[in-house]
Amino acid sequence: GAGVSQSPSNKVTEKGKDVELRCDPISGHTALYWYRQSLGQGLEFLIYFQGNSAPDKSGLPSDRFSAERTGGSVSTLTIQRTQQEDSAVYLCASTVGVSYEQYFGPGTRLTVT
């Protein structure tokens, strides 16, 4: 079966614009995670969804960041009024049940000019 997919693979945007990043998890995986990967910062947790529970938003760096997961499957991470420091690779991962083995997508490289 297909792994986690993300789109777009690359996104270049101007400072101040809004962007939407998409993640399609592995079918049947109940948990979905968003991370930000940047030089010097490592892998930074942003948000995670588990089934129908309220999402854990504790990692979102500011109120410009939001995410939703529709129908327990596809997720969209939205960054409003992008800033240059938002430039990074945004990774999505999914897991089945309560496993800690996370399956990662290829990432979206965001560049804010």
Binding site: G42, L43, F45, D56, L91, Y100, E101, Q102, P106, G107
Partner: protein, 109 residues
């Protein structure tokens, strides 16, 4: 709070030499620890987990509770081991992982 520390951002060794990537953690109780790896132009993926006590691609990692460490070791490095390595442990009370900042390993020919 749980914390994972990988003190080396960059590590370079020669092919055939032993390699050790350091990972220290803080955790209340008995943690389950993981190493994830990202090879060039590939996805981040699970390399090994300490509870399985197995060797993957020649790598092993032993949990040392006294030193709160989970160092990743390989006796003879290969060029294909060049990658970014992340140590991780579960966040207590939540179904998520806390990752270290990662170590970029380069194996020189």
């Amino acid at each position: 709070a749980q914390r994972v520390t990988q003190p080396e951002k960059l590590l370079s060794v020669f092919k055939g030499a032993p390699v050790e990537l350091k990972c220290n953690y803080s955790y209340s109780g008995s943690p389950e620890l993981f190493w994830y790896v990202q090879y060039s132009r590939q996805r981040l993926q699970l390399l090994l987990r300490h509870i399985s006590r197995e060797s993957i691609k020649g790598f092993t990692a032993d949990l040392n509770k006294g030193e709160t460490s989970f160092h990743l070791k390989k006796p003879f490095a290969q060029e294909e081991d060049s990658a970014m390595y992340y140590c991780a442990l579960p966040c207590q009370g939540a179904q998520k992982l806390v990752f270290g900042q990662g170590t970029r390993l380069t194996i020189n020919p």
